[in-house]
């Protein structure tokens, strides 16, 4: 059932994002070919650059809006009468939205990279960039080994997905919480989101205080003294991942509990 939810979710988002990605690519090509015209102060070049910027902004803005809308409108609006009467558990509904959000955010980032690469290919400047990237990669691989480089790359993608998912769940938890305030659902959601942010900050400060005033940091340095820089980096990455995972779990629980026990469609 989750697969079916994801299929329809993909279609619902794809029908907006895919054409936009297409436009982004087209503008990237155009910009690549006309970028020289900007320097010559030709109006065509400037216009194309502006349109490119607009499409880029549209992609970013729409990605966020869609994440919000696919939850708010599809689950808690009139469509909720359809979605919540499907023979599907609440958990699957939440996971469907989270996975979709995370995937589209990462896809957007990848598209951005592709867009830049396309522009550079078309200007003919790709050669210098490829050299530069190649040199950076070479430095990294010689430091930590080729296998580790791939590992780090994969880890970064995973962390990106995790952060995207955590952010989406924070938004969902805020919308679900705000929904409880019947007359001011949107305002409630915004307040909830800000409140979550404040709580995160407070917790961060508490952790920092604990870190500074107790033995913990010393013990940490002692334990990791003999580890290679790469290993130490991996440990930090792991701790960071656990932190994000913990936040993800909290926001998931809030969202799940509210949808399961306190659903009240209008």
């Amino acid at each position: 059932m989750l697969g079916k939810l994801m299929k329809h979710e993909f279609r619902a988002v794809g029908r907006i994002m895919l054409p936009l990605y297409g436009a982004w690519l087209v503008m990237s090509v155009l910009l690549g070919f006309t970028i020289n015209l900007i320097e010559e102060q030709r109006i065509v070049g400037v216009i194309i650059a502006l349109i490119y910027a607009a499409v880029t902004i549209a992609v970013i803005v729409l990605s966020i809006i869609l994440i919000i809308q696919r939850f708010y409108k599809n689950l808690l609006g009139s469509e909720g009468y359809l979605m919540f009467t499907l023979p599907v558990s609440t958990a699957k509904h939440v996971w469907n939205k989270v996975i979709s959000a995370a995937v589209w955010i990462v896809a957007g980032i990848l598209m951005g990279i592709i867009s830049v690469a396309v522009i550079m290919s078309c200007t003919g400047g790709i050669g210098t960039v490829k050299d530069a990237i190649g040199r950076v990669l070479h430095e990294i691989t010689s430091e930590i080994g080729a296998g580790n480089t791939t590992l780090v790359f994969i880890e970064l993608v995973v962390i990106a997905l995790l952060i995207a998912g955590e952010t989406a769940l924070k938004i969902y938890a805020s919308i679900s919480a705000g929904h409880q305030w019947s007359n001011h659902r949107v305002l409630g959601a915004i307040i909830a989101f800000l409140a979550f942010g404040i709580i995160e900050t407070i917790l961060g400060n508490i952790i920092a205080v604990i870190g500074n005033s107790t033995d913990i940091m010393n013990r940490y340095y002692e334990a990791t003294e003999n580890m290679s820089p790469f290993a130490q980096g991996q440990l930090v990455l792991l701790l960071f991942t656990l932190l994000v995972a913990a936040l993800t779990a909290v926001y998931y629980l809030v969202t799940y509990k509210l949808l399961q026990k306190r659903l009240n469609l209008e």
Partner: protein
């Protein structure tokens, strides 16, 4: 075991008591009217049975089970509002229903669509309101469900469409299914009802066969309703 049962159900919204100790048992093979003025709790009862609300106390049982994905697989709900994604075409909507509901009967849907001269490639939000409502009805009634909840199916609908809806309900009748029609427009619907439940301010005040009401009270259900619910 009854198909649908409410056991001592209370539902409060804050301080407002929407349902007060509701006890009800409905059986298969019936078309039951859930009748009451606006705000009497009809939609609340339907939402509870669909798992869209949680009771403050008491239980709602469908074939002995509390609302969950398993009961949702056999309960069909036509809300009193537009609830389908407007950007979808008829064909996509049929695919959606087929994907999620094992009891969705493709042939029934095709047949009903043919009769209405609506093309499958039409997009929902580009149709007239009347056609959109008919599509909703068709999708819900094309399921071979155990329980159908129709919330105000004929409110705000022209007489021809109303006839169409009532004919659809009658021809869809199945002795294995329960149909619950919730409405405040009784005169148009009462000839189709087996039995009748009066809901007043969250309490059930009557549950009787329609023909028995006509026999014993010498009145139509509509007339009795007006008496009971006089303002």
């Amino acid at each position: 075991m009854s198909v649908l049962e409410f056991r001592a159900v209370d539902k409060n919204y804050g301080r407002k008591k929407a349902l007060d100790n509701v006890d009800l048992k409905l059986e298969a093979g019936q078309i039951t009217g859930l009748l009451g003025p606006n705000g009497s709790g009809k939609t609340t009862m339907i939402k509870l049975a669909n798992g869209l609300l949680q009771p403050t106390s008491g239980q709602i049982l469908i074939d002995g089970m509390e609302p969950c994905p398993e009961t949702k697989a056999k309960v069909a709900y036509l809300p009193d509002r537009e609830f389908l994604p407007g950007y979808m075409s008829v064909e996509r909507l049929i695919e959606f229903y087929s994907d999620f509901f094992g009891d969705f009967n493709h042939k029934k849907a095709e047949k009903m669509l043919e009769g209405l001269n609506i093309s499958k490639s039409e997009i929902l939000r580009k149709m007239s309101k009347g056609n959109r409502e008919k599509i909703q009805l068709i999708l819900v009634m094309s399921r071979d469900a155990r329980v159908y909840f129709l919330d105000e199916p004929i409110a705000g609908v022209d007489p021809a469409a109303r006839d169409y809806i009532l004919r659809t309900i009658i021809s869809n009748y199945c002795e294995n299914s329960l149909v619950v029609i919730s409405t405040h427009l009784i005169a148009d619907v009462e000839s189709v009802l087996d039995d009748v439940v009066f809901l007043k301010e969250g309490k059930i005040t009557l549950h009787k066969e329609a023909d028995r009401i006509r026999e014993e009270e010498g009145k139509n259900v509509d007339e009795l309703f007006r008496e009971v619910f006089k303002c």
